[in-house]
Symmetry: C2
Subunit: 256 residues, 2 copies
Amino acid sequence: MNSEEIKKVGIVGAGNLAWHLSIGIQNAGYEIEGVYNRSEDKAERLATKLNTRVVTNFKRFKNCDLVLLVVSDDAIRELAGEINQLKAIVAHTSGNTSLEILFPHQKIGVLYPVQSFSKHLEVDLREVPFLVEGNNDIVENSLFNLASKLSQEVYKITSYQRRRLHVAAVFANNFTNHMLKQAHDLCEENDIPFSVLTPLIDETVSKIKTITPVQAQTGPAVRHDHRTIEIHKKLLEGSYLKLYEMITDDIKQAYK
Amino acid sequence: MNSEEIKKVGIVGAGNLAWHLSIGIQNAGYEIEGVYNRSEDKAERLATKLNTRVVTNFKRFKNCDLVLLVVSDDAIRELAGEINQLKAIVAHTSGNTSLEILFPHQKIGVLYPVQSFSKHLEVDLREVPFLVEGNNDIVENSLFNLASKLSQEVYKITSYQRRRLHVAAVFANNFTNHMLKQAHDLCEENDIPFSVLTPLIDETVSKIKTITPVQAQTGPAVRHDHRTIEIHKKLLEGSYLKLYEMITDDIKQAYK
């Protein structure tokens, strides 16, 4: 596999993901050349943790093999524009941003970890799938090799695929959580401990590891059980009712 | 706690839940007097498993302390009507059916396990929350005691609460699963392995055991990140788009 070995890595950003990633990269044996961040305070804290320097001028990254932009989607283009032409691969970590935004850098790539990172929550990077992309095979392979030292599960995918996966993640994470919010609020409003639903929720998620969601679906909508659906609708109002009707109709359509 | 001891139990029904429950009840030390089921073949199989008899006439349950109707919602009323007046408590196991449907029996109750049972999937009843109700304290306490021998988590709740919990379970289980179906299908259509999303889904569910779904929510909708929402909408069509717009709007409303 045609690739260039990455040794020195420059980190841009000092948020949750920057912490988790840079620590993981350092633990995998790479040298962190320095940390750049708009707010120097935050850069200082991460640099201290990594026992490296704070960088205030991107020229300090001139010996890096990889400069990783671990910043919000909005900041990627601007920061990439500020970096002078380097020998390094310039890569971002966003699920929803194209590769091309990093042009006119010559070696550009994406290193996207599919997980939601919280500040105080330990995450085992080995279990986090990484999706990599590069503007040529050498870049892509180099990033693939680095990701493979962080995680057991690494895939090469295109910007087109990554964007769609990012939407899929919204359904799987944010929308699922919103359904759990409805369940939580319904319990709370009726003095029922939400924990009563925990085993059922665990079961729901555990099933789709061995069978598809279509095979796993149960309940009144998939059975086209209109009597139960009508009883449920009479119990609901407002936003609950709107969601219930819409999703029930969608399930009925999907399993005709 | 005022109660009557339950010793002998008659089982009506021979479906998934009847299997899981009756085996659990027997293992907890109760005597299963017999199994009644419309289809005698199925009754035979469960009775054999329990080493008890098939019952074709409800009079055989005259010495029971509890007759448990473990049948579909539609069949509860009819079967309850066929049972002659007994000394036993007559109870059903449905989340969505009122207690009163069991009148004119004198001692009536509900024993509702909050879990979705599949045929070939082992379920540890100790981890399944049971919700009990009775038409008087003695019945309710008797069922509570029995449920407490099956499970660590038993609550007394009213029919009013149980109905609402049943709707909450539809959100937590069926609707959550439908969100996972969208994610699954989006992956499949774009040649991305669905397993890439597994750690994220696990994290989503694991979070709500320590923080509320409101505290756990992330993503473009809760951030009111309209740029990302617009990008996502352009990638979607049909049923995906309808769900995306509706749920995104609902999240935006909920976190104004």
